[in-house]
């Protein structure tokens, strides 16, 4: 019994702050902790705020492109680590794939920015801080997370299916495309979603590699939040939470429906 009380406490701890924020997004008063009646004016204000809408659109584009790059490269890296047991530079490769998982974000952000500055001086690319630099940075750090997800799936996969295909004369590329890929597809999807979430949520690395012309949504929110809380951020946060909730519900339905 006491166990369930403790569990309820954990859920309360996890959800009360989010619920409070959602409730206050409908507050008519500009004072964020005093209730001044129900209103949706902050939502209306938000939807006419060009800066926020532009930032949200940029974030979405960056997240889709960088998650796709991370999924392709991360999957290749996972195949290399699971299937190719011995090759020159394996230790270095394994280290480079796992290091971003434990690397503080401030270091990754600083290192990438210094690289971009050095490259721009040397070869003129990338020109300044733009969507390109954010995509490259996000693709790099989320690659490792995709590799973890795909790797565990490859590890648990039944190797005899691949062996059977090869015994029947299928070439390695064919085996990969028609046997391996369909089997690990759920892991690829999970990895892509993880990379997408990491990208669309990232503040620290984006702060280093984004410029005045290209500010993703978290940067816009962060610079506002640093000045204190404001009701339109509550509204924005509520929209984000609602979107995630709906997406998770659909994903859950699909997953349960398949079973």
């Amino acid at each position: 019994m006491i166990l369930y009380v403790l569990l309820a406490f954990a859920y309360a701890f996890l959800y009360i702050p989010i619920v409070v924020m959602m409730v206050f997004s409908f507050n008519a008063s500009k004072l964020v902790t005093v209730w001044g009646g129900f209103s949706t004016k902050w939502y209306a204000e938000l939807l006419t705020n060009e800066k926020v809408l532009d930032a949200a659109w940029l974030s979405l584009k960056v997240a889709v492109v960088s998650a796709t790059i991370a999924t392709v490269l991360g999957t290749l890296a996972a195949v290399v680590l699971v299937r190719f047991r011995r090759f020159h530079g394996r230790t270095l490769f394994a280290g480079m794939v796992t290091a971003p998982l434990v690397m503080p974000e401030v270091i990754v952000g600083l290192a990438l920015l210094l690289l971009f500055v050095a490259m721009e001086q040397a070869i003129g690319w990338p020109a300044g801080r733009s969507m390109t630099t954010i995509v490259v940075a996000h693709g790099t750090f989320s690659l490792s997370f995709v590799t973890v997800v795909v790797r565990s799936r490859l590890d648990r996969m039944d190797a005899s299916l691949e062996e059977a295909a090869m015994d029947l004369g299928a070439r390695p590329l064919r085996v990969f495309l028609s046997i391996t890929l369909p089997l690990i597809a759920p892991a690829l999807l999970a990895g892509w979603l993880l990379a997408f979430t990491l990208s669309i949520d990232d503040v620290v690395i984006s702060s280093f590699v984004s410029g005045p012309g290209a500010s993703p949504l978290p940067i816009v929110i962060f610079s506002k939040v640093r000045l204190g809380i404001s009701p339109d951020i509550n509204a924005l946060a509520t929209i984000v939470v609602a979107l995630v909730g709906v997406a998770m519900a659909i994903a859950g339905r699909v997953a349960l429906g398949r079973r």
């Binding site: 409070v20 600083l110 210094l114 962060f222 984000v240």
Partner: protein, 301 residues
């Protein structure tokens, strides 16, 4: 295209990408950490002075590292980061363990939903979840209003902008990382062991200490690492919830870079963090992975 060439072509793209965008940047960080600061753009001098009369001349310096060692601020920030992250990890364990245990012992039909409820906040924005605490913790915020109304306190407490607020924020943000691995080990546990202990006259609490706790050790270690590692280098939480005197190493790096525009010292801080923080963690991780591989290999035979 079997064999070597095929393998080479598969491995090449991720290898090149990581070498260029992950390895090379650290070489540049190392280089800049040895450079002298400068007022120009970029704000550091090249290591080799090409314009010197006697050919190229070495202009590197260890001054930036000397500053880290001499100025007590950096050491204090490093130790304080470890302290705060350690307390947050312990708090996550204290809240997360009973929760994971309760989920693992709940009816099977409920478990997935209960677990999803723990993971759901992780998929919503991290920044927004930290932000939500500002309204709760500030002096005229909801927590103080509640405590005043209950008569527990006579005057509002200063919680926001203290280390306590940072610890609360970290515990909140990283709790799912603790619960998920704990659940994974607790769920796999063989319950007949507890029955055996009970049959032999062991009281439930003692059985927990003697059987459940040791068996869940891998989950405790995995969860603690997942919380501790990102918490130590955290920037957003101390920046939003902590005060100006909340020293954390991630915040120091940030302000050296953005506020002081001192790229060489920021780079030196990054190198020091790599050596003192990331390297030990990677060594521990590798040792654990190696031990698990061995144990797993034996188990499979």
């Amino acid at each position: 295209m079997t064999g070597r060439l095929g393998r080479f072509l598969v491995g090449l793209p991720p290898y090149l990408w990581l070498a260029l965008f992950f390895l090379a940047p650290f070489a540049i960080v190392l280089k800049i950490s040895l450079s002298q600061p400068d007022a120009g753009i970029p704000p550091y001098l090249p290591l080799w002075d090409a314009a010197a009369e006697a050919g190229r001349q070495w202009r590197g310096t260890f001054d930036n590292y000397a500053r880290l060692a001499e100025d007590g601020l950096y050491l204090a920030a490093y130790l304080n980061s470890i302290r705060i992250a350690g307390i947050a990890t312990l708090a996550c364990l204290l809240i997360g363990y009973p929760a994971a245990y309760a989920i693992a012992r709940a009816p099977t039909a409920w478990r997935n939903s209960l677990l999803l409820l723990v993971a759901l906040p992780f998929w919503t924005s991290f920044l927004i979840r930290v932000y939500a605490w500002i309204g709760i913790l500030k002096t005229e915020g909801l927590l103080n209003a509640l405590l005043l109304w209950l008569g527990v306190i006579a005057e509002p407490l200063q919680i926001l902008q203290t280390d306590l607020a940072v610890i609360i924020g970290m515990t909140y943000s990283y709790l799912p990382f603790m619960v998920l691995p704990l659940y994974a080990t607790l769920e796999k546990m063989d319950l007949s062991l507890l029955e055996a202990a009970a049959d032999l006259g062991c009281r439930p609490f003692k059985a927990f200490l003697a059987v459940t706790l040791p068996l869940s050790m891998p989950g405790i270690i995995a969860g603690s690492l997942l919380v501790f590692i990102p918490a130590v280098g955290e920037f957003v939480i101390p920046d939003l919830l902590g005060g100006t005197d909340t020293l954390m190493i991630g915040k120091i790096l940030w302000s050296e870079f953005f506020d002081n525009r001192d790229w060489p010292v920021a780079s030196a801080v990054a190198v020091a963090m790599l050596v003192l923080l990331v390297a030990p963690i990677m060594i521990v991780q590798n040792a654990r992975a190696g031990a698990e591989d061995k144990a797993g290999g034996k188990g499979r035979r």
